[in-house]
Subunit: 414 residues, 2 copies
């Protein structure tokens, strides 16, 4: 018999408890033992639920109950989640979490504490909601060297981009619709400015490379500056704009880990992942490309990943050897400005014809784009691959004082 | 230290040994212990390999060596693979296999023997090549009731269909190209007649529902009768033809498990899975749809799944509780003729106009299709959903003696 506790009774927390009730038979069959939710921690009162007797406001009651062997942390935020998880692991309880902020900021430390106490710290739900991704990466792909991970990791921004692409809504309008539908929070900054994607790619990168990648080492660019003009040029180029979190092994042993909106070709497996769906591409030396697709958020998708982790934690009698990484080493993440990409540039110019000639002379393989209703003073181009420093230098050469860059988006090749 | 053996040194077997050499460090790190290939069983001689000293022609040498704890069976075929695997499990060795024929025919029995001897029988590589699918299904989706599994499970037929759809090659021409490229065997029957897909959907269905589904209970239709006319009508309808293996839970506790080419809409997540790629959709009550995509065959993708299983088998100290199913019960698979689908029908008729009127009267919601260069004596229609018996009855009503059915394909809604 495994007695478990759930910290937080918000959207995911209530989903976890409800799934336990609904699929109890199959859960216990997979766990090989009875499982029971003994406590639910929340500061609020929930007097009218069938399981109202399980609520407590006292974290120490859970911490000090030796019957409790597995705890799900689904409160979110760094504090007190971090302190709670740390003390639970130190007490010899396994912890599973959906809290990407916690894992991205404190993963290496919590994994080390779990190892030291021979328990587990699992976080399948922290990336990709109900899509199995953490476990397939560390387990099924164990025989691979992973060269690259790239994904559409945030459903809110993908919904907004889909509306911009398919229905020509502008960013503000699409954001408002996302808020109305409950896909975006009232304060959408963490989504639209890319931090949520950043946390998730940090977790995937840490797992793929065995060393913790911290969010403040990751160049992160959101989607707030994208316009319908950019979307139209992307279509003319033959693709779409998606917000991509990406981690790639470089030749010299370093990594590049980035979050930015990118042009991707319409035949890419990531191009057709629309609305609130997430998609994650793993490039292994043996498997080639493997793509995982599904709902990246939501009550039951996320809760099902949490419950699956709870089952695994209940079954385990030792710390997972493979779901683990060390703390970061200095300078493991390369300066993003030294990585070469083709750039899409949209430029306002008094003399776009002359500018086109100058760009052509400076970068022979540039591809010029056009769209319906293009203003006369506008030029759009996709450059050959170059890094930020090279781009800066070329732009200094070709731009006049009156020219201004209206859009700048990297191009990824998947 | 885990000493392992590999039965068979064909494409997959040599890939397994090579991966062990290439990624030894990460493999041993994930396994938490050194791992060494001690034997390779093959009736042929391989004198010039760096690991030629590991070969043996004597299965009993492996069977009776107590140092060997994990064996990979990658010979294929039912015999002697079944006898070998059975005796290895009975000797207390874990076995992993890529052999879908073996798992589809003998899975329940071998899983039972593994349980009885407290070892494991793993087969991630038997479905989807390098795509992690077996383990995510039984582990990460443990908290879900799986209502449906559907997939493009055979790369050879998907390659042929892709060439028919994108390049208007006819079936024979596309098959020949597939053979030239090494994607299809000289005798392509197991692929093009659907048996390979059938074995794989049997494995997925058995795992999803906990009871063995045997190939002879699965209605299996291949792609050999498909024509470019059918492909063109599918496009007119707004989709493509794909060979889909499918298992679905029915209301009355039964299953439908089928393999047939189907019309699927072009926005389906399975519609864009082209060439030799595989894609598998899992529909769970909590997760919603989750799709896995990647290379479904090939030396290293398949070998990487085998090696990952070997790592897991080396780490395990007890039989997996969740990767398991019971033997089948009678009548668990429903008669496929009682399941309703919309049908695409292509009919030759002396009087197609009159036929259209009769079909319209008999089935109000029928959708008539047209294509460029449609012969005057041809009519194509997508009917409302009906089962085979209803369809037979309607066709008896509306068809004249001279009318003949040139094409009949079910429509799936993903």
């Amino acid at each position: 018999m495994a007695k478990v506790a759930v910290l937080g009774h918000g959207v995911v927390g209530s989903g976890v408890v409800e799934l336990f009730e609904k699929n109890r038979n199959s859960i216990e069959a997979k766990a090989g033992q009875p499982m029971e939710v003994k406590y639910i921690l929340d500061i609020r009162d929930f007097p009218d639920l069938p399981y109202s007797d399980k609520f407590t406001k006292d974290f120490n009651q859970i911490l000090n109950d030796e019957e409790v062997s597995v705890v799900a942390e689904v409160m979110g935020g760094l504090s007190p989640a971090f302190e709670y998880v740390k003390s639970l692991l130190e007490k010899g309880k396994s912890v599973v979490t959906s809290n990407k902020e916690l894992v991205a900021a404190k993963g290496a430390e919590l994994l080390r504490i779990a190892r030291e106490h021979n328990v587990n710290f699992f976080f399948e739900a922290s990336v990709g909601g109900g899509i199995p991704i953490i476990r397939p990466m560390h387990q099924c792909l164990a025989a691979n060297q992973i060269s690259e991970v790239a994904g559409i990791l945030n459903g809110t921004t993908n919904f907004i981009l889909t509306k911009m692409i398919q229905e020509q809504m502008d960013f503000d309008e699409a954001l408002e619709l996302a808020q109305q539908l409950g896909y975006a929070e009232r304060n959408p900054a963490a989504d639209v400015e890319g931090q949520d994607t950043c946390r998730k790619i940090c977790i995937l990168a840490s797992l793929a490379y065995g060393k913790h990648v911290y969010p403040n080492n990751v160049y992160t660019e959101g989607i707030t500056n994208l316009t319908l003009e950019d979307v139209a040029y992307a279509e003319d180029w033959g693709g779409v704009i998606k917000l991509i979190g990406r981690a790639k092994r470089l030749d010299e042993g370093k990594l590049t880990v980035t979050v930015f909106p990118a042009f991707i070709g319409k035949h890419s497996q990531l191009a057709n992942i629309d609305d609130v769906f997430n998609g994650i591409l793993i490039r292994g030396d043996a498997t080639g490309d493997v793509v995982f697709y599904g709902r990246g958020a939501g009550k039951f998708p996320t809760a099902s990943a949490v419950v699956a982790d709870m089952i695994d934690a209940a079954k385990a009698n030792t710390t997972s050897k493979s779901l683990n990484w060390e703390d970061s080493t200095e300078n493991q993440v390369a300066d993003y400005r030294t990585i070469a990409y083709p750039f899409y540039l949209r430029i306002r110019s008094d003399n776009p014809e002359q500018l086109e000639k100058k760009i052509h002379a400076a970068m022979l393989d540039s591809v010029f784009l056009s769209r319906r209703q293009q203003p006369q003073e506008e030029l759009a181009v996709v450059t050959p691959a170059m890094d930020d420093y090279q781009l800066e230098k070329v732009l200094k050469e070709v731009l006049d004082n009156n020219d201004s860059i209206l859009g700048k988006i990297r191009v990824l090749d998947y």
